[in-house]
């Protein structure tokens, strides 16, 4: 079967790839484009380790077919830092030990950024429910939730506004 030609934008860069119709976006990111920061923990959309945004929408890339990226804007963990400057969430996760093994961390960061783009003043409960699609087996979530709440407060204090969604 002929491969499908996909033209897309990944972390701001125009990108083209060839894929099979049944290939997932996660497989293309990891195996063809070398973007291995997105992880496969389950392949069924239950763990969130493969979280990316497609046109601003938070998705499990293991549940997105690669051809669906046609014309879309895909953001992965690899695009989160600004050059050599870590995103405040990335910095805070390290500072507050919000990771232990680190396998779920890219997914949590992508999901947390998506939350703060919509809601810069989340309650603890809102953070917990927003991140309920991301499994972490090491931390008990405590320091992750604290880190997100701290970053939200710091961004509010710095005058950052929610992106229009």
């Amino acid at each position: 079967m002929a491969k499908i030609h996909v033209t897309t934008t990944i972390n701001g860069a125009p990108t083209e790839f060839l894929c099979d119709a049944n290939q997932t976006l996660l497989d293309v990111l990891r195996d063809q484009l070398g973007l291995t920061g997105s992880k496969e923990g389950c392949g069924s959309g239950d763990c969130g380790a493969c979280s990316v945004t497609v046109n601003g929408r938070l998705v499990c890339s293991c549940l997105v077919l690669a051809p669906e990226a046609e014309g879309a804007k895909v953001e992965t963990i690899e695009g989160m830092a600004d050059g050599d400057k870590l995103h405040p969430l990335q910095k805070k996760f390290v500072e507050m030990a919000a990771l232990q093994c680190g396998i779920c961390t890219p997914g949590f960061l992508v999901a947390s950024r998506a939350l703060l783009e919509r809601n810069l003043n989340p309650t603890e409960t809102e953070v917990r429910y927003w991140l309920a699609g991301n499994l972490c087996r090491c931390t008990g979530y405590d320091k992750i939730v604290s880190a997100v709440l701290d970053v939200a407060a710091e961004m509010r204090a710095a005058g950052v506004k929610e992106a229009a969604q």
Binding site: Q90, G102, R128, R137, T139, D142
Partner: protein, 759 residues
Amino acid sequence: MSKPQYKWIGTRPDRPDGADKVTGRARFGADFNLPGQLVGKVLRSPHAHARIRSIDTSAAEALPGVKAVVTAADFPEQADLIVPTGEMQVNLRDITRNIMAREKALYEGHAVAAVAATSEAIAKQALGLIKVDYEVLPHVIDVAEAMKPDAPILHESLRTEGANPPATTASNIAKRIEFKKGDTAAGFAQAEVVIERDYSTQAVHQGYIEPHAALASASEDGQVQLWSTTQGHFQVRGFCSRLLNIETSQIRVTATEIGGGFGGKTVVYLEPVAIRLSQKSGKPVKMVMSREEVFRASGPAPGGNVKVKIGATKDGRIVAAECTVEMQAGAFPGSPVGPACMCSYACYDIDNIHIVGFDVVSNRPKVAAYRAPGAPISAWAVESTIDILAQRLSMDPIDLRLMNAAKKGTKTAYGVTFNTIGMVETLEAVKNSDHYKTPVKPGYARGVAAGFWFNVGADSSAAAHVGEDGTVTVISGNPDIGGSRASLALMAAEELGVDYNKVRPVIADTASIGFNFVTGGSRVTFATGLAVVNSVRDLIRELKVRAAKIWNVDPEGVMWENGVAKPAGSNVGEFEPLSIAQLAAQAGRTGGPINGHAQLNVTGAGPGFGVHVADLKVDSDTGVVTVGRYTAAQDVGTAIHPSYVEGQLQGGAVQGIGWALNEEYIYNTKGKLENPGFLDYRMPVASDLPMIETILVEVPNPTHPYGVRGVGEVPIVPPTAAIGNAIARATGIRMTDLPMSPPKLSEALDTATPRMAAE
């Protein structure tokens, strides 16, 4: 005793691998690739128990793109020999059968063949072309059923070890063990209150988010390179060496970053298979398990049945205690029934104890270690029973435990007498905590439970190298599973008297540092930490020798303080202090590179005790439990990097909450696992939980220079009973079977309070 003043120990700097892990740069098991690699896939048994009459791989081998197919015939037979792995023991004869079924498939998901092909699609197609002729046999899943004389037998050669009289016929009971202290009959005769209960738990999975993965490259000259996500790359090397008859020096294993293990990555599944496929195909072979494979075929932790009998006087003194543990081993002998028995009453100073354990095989995947292996199962039963005792005696559960707490000098049922431990301090810390002093909120109830783990030492090697600019690389060989690099660097910086950021910790492959036992048993910060401290001390000795040469004095006349060499006294002479950078700059003239080394078999691991408090409410309609407040307290020795110590307590507590409320392996009547995915195997998510408060009780371990105790395992021991005890106090219903999931709890509530027909 006043607390020692440290510059680095006890601080919370950024971890050395932090930036890599928040940017996606860190490379885990499945992130490694080699040019020309093949994809390896495993064919697994669809039956719980079946004789393998024959395997025909010819059609698969003929498929274009298939480069190798292996079955058990490709792996040499192994002797009946037990070798240690992590906190468990494995028999090589069994382990070769576990990685590839030989005479029989012993559980659904058991590997029976594997292929390597040029693409995943071809590999999957090839699996479908392998013809296995199975003779399906009767199976047994439940431990109690498996122990019956007429149960289907898994291993015809298995005789119960420790049976009295000696066993003469085949049985699924692999072993009977016994621990005795004092005279329980005499003890129960003194008792004024006796509580007796039966409990059960189900198999649970470690639930690491990263599936098993391995990449093997075997060369034509016999050398093998392997990248594996493992808790012990030296163990992986050892297993592969034995299972494939390859000399250890021919195998070089690199531990990738590891995405969780909790004990489950201390054994091998894919690694020997990937190597064999690579040898046969002449190409690198990469194998990654799916989540379903992880559930069906990698070691869960066992479930078990526990019978407990505790006798006490009316004032709360426990005078006799008995416990019988029947534990799932999975398809091959080797459950953690030993530690389950030993830990059962280790929190308490009891004169008369009798404990019996049974290791039982059944048609389930072979169990692997999971955080304090075995201990949560006996603790669930013992700590629930102690809570019943507290209720019966109308005593505060902390006071009851304080009255019976183990302390320095307490002799355990398994023979060890405790040195300095912190059970009493931990109970007191909880009693004085804000949580415990705050009245329970209306609608909620509070449960308390304690837990114990030995912690282990064992073999570690480390090296410390000075770079030409005076910065230091500290090299060790334990995969960092939860921030251990930061702890090792903190101890090295403290010892050297230099900035934490001048010390770079590295985890070397098996060819680049001496042997290190697995990352497990809560041993790395303690034992490998000690090796690191000793390697730095060896380095300091060398630095003093170099300073002595420069000053032309005796090395004895040089002291090391705050990162510089100084004259030890005024009689040595007047010299300006020399920093590591200054000594490094002159190294070429004083003897060449400046390094330190250490290797040791570490003993004296300080045991740990935890006490947890849970406040929760139960929805009487649905049986859903909401945990409102949770505190985990533990004697942690010295918290080297307190954030990661807190993280261990929080993570372990939450795994225990999952074990208590939801997690279980569910089998159907055909012996097939019905919930091999995260949707149906329900681990806690963020919205299920409150913040997990921690209390770090620092009772230094006297056998470690910085007082380190292992901390990682104790936190999973108390939660099931803490939750169960709170549920009992909230509802009046004492749950004895885990998990206390909504369907089970709501059924128990309905039975206790029959609903109106109209509802």
